[in-house]
């Protein structure tokens, strides 16, 4: 028991890294995902094709594979840290999934919204910015919350490329004392609490911004 608590103490500071990875990856993924979704629906053949290909390919790959691709890229070409490589990899993955979420949300709006906006003399970019996206983003919130939880949990895989986040700390403390199970249970607890808080927070957001349909 005392050891379990010691593990918790040792692992907890790494939560900062985990949260940083998660939030940053989600943020980059949000911007990139939106751009990809808009490109797929409103872009020309080339843009739409590229966005579609990117989404398909990345979503077919395990997160670990993407992580190692970026890690290898980083050590041979870019000389960036394990954490940064992990961040880029996680961002690349979530961007693909988020593009699907936003694509679905935009499509669920139907064509009438764009038609109405255009019929009032709005240009396409104007319509996308003031009519389509405000509604699509709100519609996407539930799926997005799901994705946020997934990114949080996937951040544990960053340990495989050397990022010192929660799971890695658990491995370290377990190895140091040759007593692994309590360490992993402790890190599981921390993840559980983080996921729980994230879900609650996003639930509140969902209630506040819900679109009345």
């Amino acid at each position: 028991m005392a050891y379990f608590l010691r593990c918790l103490k040792f692992i907890l500071p790494a939560a900062k890294t985990t949260l940083l990875l998660t939030v940053a990856a989600l943020g980059i993924g949000l911007v990139a995902g939106l751009l990809l979704a808009v490109a797929r629906i409103y872009g020309g053949k080339a843009a739409a094709g590229l966005a579609s290909a990117y989404s398909r390919i990345v979503r077919s790959l395990p997160t670990l594979v993407v992580l190692f691709i970026f890690y290898s890229l980083s050590s041979s070409l870019l000389h960036i840290s394990g954490v940064t490589a992990a961040l880029l990899a996680l961002s690349a993955c979530t961007a693909a999934y988020q593009s699907e979420i936003f694509r679905g949300a935009i499509q669920s709006l139907g064509t009438g919204q764009m038609a109405a906006a255009r019929s009032l003399g709005m240009t396409r970019p104007m319509a996308i910015r003031y009519v389509i996206l405000p509604q699509a983003l709100r519609l996407a919130i539930p799926s997005w919350s799901n994705e946020a939880a997934i990114v949080l949990k996937d951040s544990s895989l960053a340990s495989a490329v050397g990022a010192t986040e929660i799971f890695r700390r658990a491995q370290q403390v377990g190895a140091a004392h040759h007593d692994y199970l309590p360490a992993y249970l402790a890190c599981g607890l921390i993840y559980f609490v983080l996921t729980f808080l994230t879900n609650r927070g996003l639930d509140l957001m969902q209630r506040k911004f819900k679109l009345k349909l």
């Binding site: 919204q113 255009r118 019929s119 003399g121 240009t123 009345k212």
Partner: protein, 262 residues
Amino acid sequence: MPQPILRIENIHKAYGKTQVLRGVSLDVYPGEVVVIIGPSGTGKSTLLRCVNQLTVPDQGRVWLEGVELTAKGTDINKARERIGMVFQDFNLFTHLTAVQNVMLALTKVKRMRPEEARAKAMAELEKVGLADKADLYPAELSGGQKQRAAIARSLAMDPEVMLFDEPTSALDPELIGEVLEVMRKLAEEGMTMLVVSHEMGFAREVADRIVFLENGVIVEEGPPEQLFQDPKQERTREFLWKLTELYGNHGGSRSRRRPGCS
């Protein structure tokens, strides 16, 4: 003879293998109310969408006050500011209140200042009888209120022509009347209107001209008295007979009885 405000010339449109419009031409004069009737799926909506180029015709041209909308160099967004469109499914922006819906194009397209835009928006909502519902979201409005708000949204742009694409087809019967009332007032004020509708009562009383479109061509057109009482074409007669069977002499609007109708 005044110049037509809207000229539609030889419009052809096909979707895949289906030829929806086969050479439709129509002139609309200022202040005229033209109602287009015809069986479902004959391209009535498509024709309307070809006017403001929401659908681009395969062949044919459209002029608004002498400006050719189908020409390559035309700024279609500017042109659309002068044409208002009302949709069967209303298409109100769900993330905005009624007044915000009306204000959006005013602030973004016409670049009005927010206070000006709000004042104008409230005035338009007042005209359609929705001033007290200004701050409600579309989800909180009834079907008839939604459509009236949509009409106010289009009118706020001060268009020269209003297009109505089956404006009451998605409404419950008891709500149709309030929308037709707004449309009738608009006609009385001299707005040029091109209306696709099944509302025969409305067509009879408000239209200056009725156009019967079937299989992608105009079968017959003329003033209501002529079409309803003495149609020249057999198919017109058949179609109108079918409608009268279905809806009675007042077309689809079962809730309004006007004095003097038989």
